[in-house]
């Protein structure tokens, strides 16, 4: 039996609203403990609006889920900053910061926050600094390993006695990079300014392969993701010792089945195409059996 809690990460792909409605209904009925809502990748994506997220948040909260609003990783314009401030000011919800700007806004408001995986925390000193500003939970950058997590926690404990929860991205396509450029629009020969939200036609992203057929990346708008699904299902014992929460990042409804696995309800073997390199401190795309 695992002591891990599970979270469903923010939806990283652009799904149409009816699909999102159905999805969060399924999430509400799942065993997940925590659900992250909100747009994390691209400020132009508006198929679901803030009211939709609040509606899902209420539904999920009624099913005893802790609901967290996740925020954009790349904030580039004054308008995006104003929207962020408005959101943080108006909602009493818990937020996940994916840019230091969000940490600044929330700490000015003396609000607790969660550090998302797109914030550069690589050592205990940095985590302690953020803890003093209100961080309650840290989602480790995806490129870091179990050894790194172990050492960082030890360093944090030696510097700071504020409580901290540790969350690890444990299942899904890994978010690896953010760009000014929209690679999905580029693939369709569209300018980013006239993208027509073309990424909604690729609800699981666009596969990029090498010329000799190896699946390398998944394009998701301005985000570049891993070509294969990262999966720590066979590392659950170590994960349970080092982390409090396993994050599941969904690209299809069936991925919710992994919630039960990470909760320890049943065991599933890692599919042969899935990867786990980062956890073992080797190239992320590789696998340790």
């Amino acid at each position: 039996m695992s002591f891990l809690k599970t979270s469903v990460g923010p939806m990283l792909f652009l799904w149409e609203k009816p699909l999102m409605d159905a999805f969060y209904e399924r999430v509400a009925l799942s065993d997940a403990d925590i659900v992250y809502l909100g747009e994390n990748v691209c400020g132009k994506r508006r198929l679901s609006n803030h009211e939709d997220y609040l509606r899902w948040a209420q539904r999920l909260a009624r099913c005893d889920k802790q609901v967290v609003l996740s925020t954009l990783a790349l904030l580039e314009s004054p308008q995006q900053i104003r929207e962020l401030e408005r959101m943080c000011n108006n909602d009493s919800m818990l937020f996940e910061a994916n840019d230091v700007a969000t940490i600044q806004v929330l700490s000015e408001l003396h609000r607790p926050f969660i550090i998302g995986p797109a914030i550069n925390v690589y050592n205990g000193y940095t985590l302690a600094k953020f803890a003093k500003l209100g961080a309650k939970r840290w989602v480790m950058p995806v490129e870091l390993s179990k050894d790194w997590l172990f050492a960082l926690k030890k360093e944090y404990d030696s510097l700071c006695d504020l409580p901290m929860e540790y969350e690890v991205f444990s299942y899904g396509y890994l978010p690896l990079a953010y760009s000014a450029r929209c690679f999905t629009a580029r693939h369709h020969n569209l300018a980013k300014d006239q993208c027509n939200l073309i990424c909604q036609t690729h609800p699981q992203g666009l596969q990029v392969s090498s010329q000799d057929g190896k699946e390398l990346f998944t394009l998701n708008g301005i985000q570049t993701m891993s070509g294969q699904v990262y999966n720590l299902c066979e590392e659950i014992t170590e994960l349970g010792k080092l982390a409090d929460i396993a994050r599941i990042s969904v690209h299809q409804f069936e991925d919710l089945d992994w919630v039960d696995h990470f909760k320890g309800h049943h065991k599933t073997l890692r599919p042969t195409t899935h990867i786990n390199g980062f956890w073992h401190r080797i190239a992320g795309m590789h696998v340790v059996d």
Binding site: L74, N123, Y125, V142, W148, Y178, S209
Partner: protein
């Protein structure tokens, strides 16, 4: 506006100063900086020589200590910081909050610039670093358009430094794990991107294959110029078509933007390339010195001289240059 040039060794530093750099940036020869390449960068004594040379010519020396400290290894970053401060360098370029915190407590008078690896793209993130650590300048990632830079410049008191020329990083720097995904080593954790030790060239009849840790990044026919397999600049297949899915092998060149950058009061234009040769540094510095002087003399009459662009294109990846994200259409 300062012209800030790269140097991976003393000969490059001297060339930069001789050809008109106002300031030069360097790194120490260990993994505390994001260009941790074999045979590159400065030892203690070389750093001392660099400081002496720059100050004798009334120019400035910046030192990049811009990777992120590993847990329980902060003393290595701390030593690098103490060494640079002790040598009397003019500015430190730092990304890690652990390092910034240490500097603000132990060396509060040291001028600190926020490295591009900290990935700051907006006014609120600037507020954070300014208030917490009294950072004097930020180096902007190559993701903003000129319009966005202009808005930022108008709304902040912090000095802005922009990448003006050199290799084009197309991702928000400091938040890209593509290199560790493919090789296990990234700019944040090891100070490298697409490291050379993982590169393998295979000549196969008429085709040259470039691999990075076994992954085929690109294949070149006999009539094509083969480029270094930087993983985001390869030709890949997406839905049946093979193309540069992320970016072409091309360099950033912002000469044409100089009058605009002057108007925005940009503090410093930065030339990328600590890993490049002294001859490269000399040529690029010379062109940029002439261009900045011309733009300062009369921004209205400023024209990019064809000879400048020819020189820069000849030094560029794939002989191509682009305005990158500064130009909205690139996105």
């Amino acid at each position: 506006m300062e012209l800030l040039c790269p140097a991976g060794n003393l000969p490059s530093l001297r060339k930069a100063i001789e050809h008109g750099a106002d300031a030069v940036y360097v790194g120490l020869n260990n993994d505390t900086n994001a260009r941790h390449f074999k045979g590159l960068n400065f030892s203690d004594t070389q750093l001392q020589e660099a400081v002496t040379f720059c100050h004798r010519h009334q120019r400035k020396l910046h030192v990049a200590i811009n990777t992120f400290a590993h847990p329980n290894q902060f003393p290595r970053w701390q030593q690098a910081i103490d060494l640079a401060v002790d040598k009397g360098v003019d500015a430190l370029i730092v990304a890690d909050i652990a390092a910034l915190d240490y500097l603000s407590k132990q060396h509060p008078d040291q001028e600190v610039h926020l490295s591009v690896q900290a990935s700051v793209t907006n006014s609120k993130a600037i507020d954070f670093y300014q208030r917490q650590f009294r950072v004097k300048r930020i180096v902007l990632p190559r993701v903003l358009s000129v319009q966005q830079v202009r808005k930022l410049a108008a709304n902040t008191t912090i000095e802005l430094e922009l990448f003006a020329f050199g290799s084009l990083c197309i991702m928000a720097e400091g938040r890209c794990y593509l290199s560790s995904y493919m090789t296990g080593e990234s700019p944040n954790t090891a100070g490298v991107c697409s490291p050379a030790k993982f590169v393998r060239w295979e000549q196969n009849e008429q085709t040259l294959h470039a691999r990075l840790n076994g992954v085929l990044i690109d294949s070149f026919s006999a009539d094509e110029q083969a480029g270094y397999p930087t993983l985001c600049k390869g030709r890949f297949e997406v839905q049946g078509s093979t193309y540069h899915a992320l970016e072409e092998p091309t360099s950033l060149n912002t000469l044409a933007l100089l009058p605009e950058l002057l108007k925005m009061n940009i503090a410093s234009v930065k030339i990328e390339g600590r890993q490049r040769s002294p001859a490269y540094v000399a040529q690029v510095t010379k062109v940029w010195r002439q261009a900045i002087d011309a733009a300062k003399h009369s921004a209205q009459d400023f024209d990019v001289k064809p000879a400048w662009n020819e020189t820069l294109a000849g030094l560029s990846e794939g002989q191509q240059t682009t305005l990158g994200a500064y130009h909205r259409k690139w996105k």
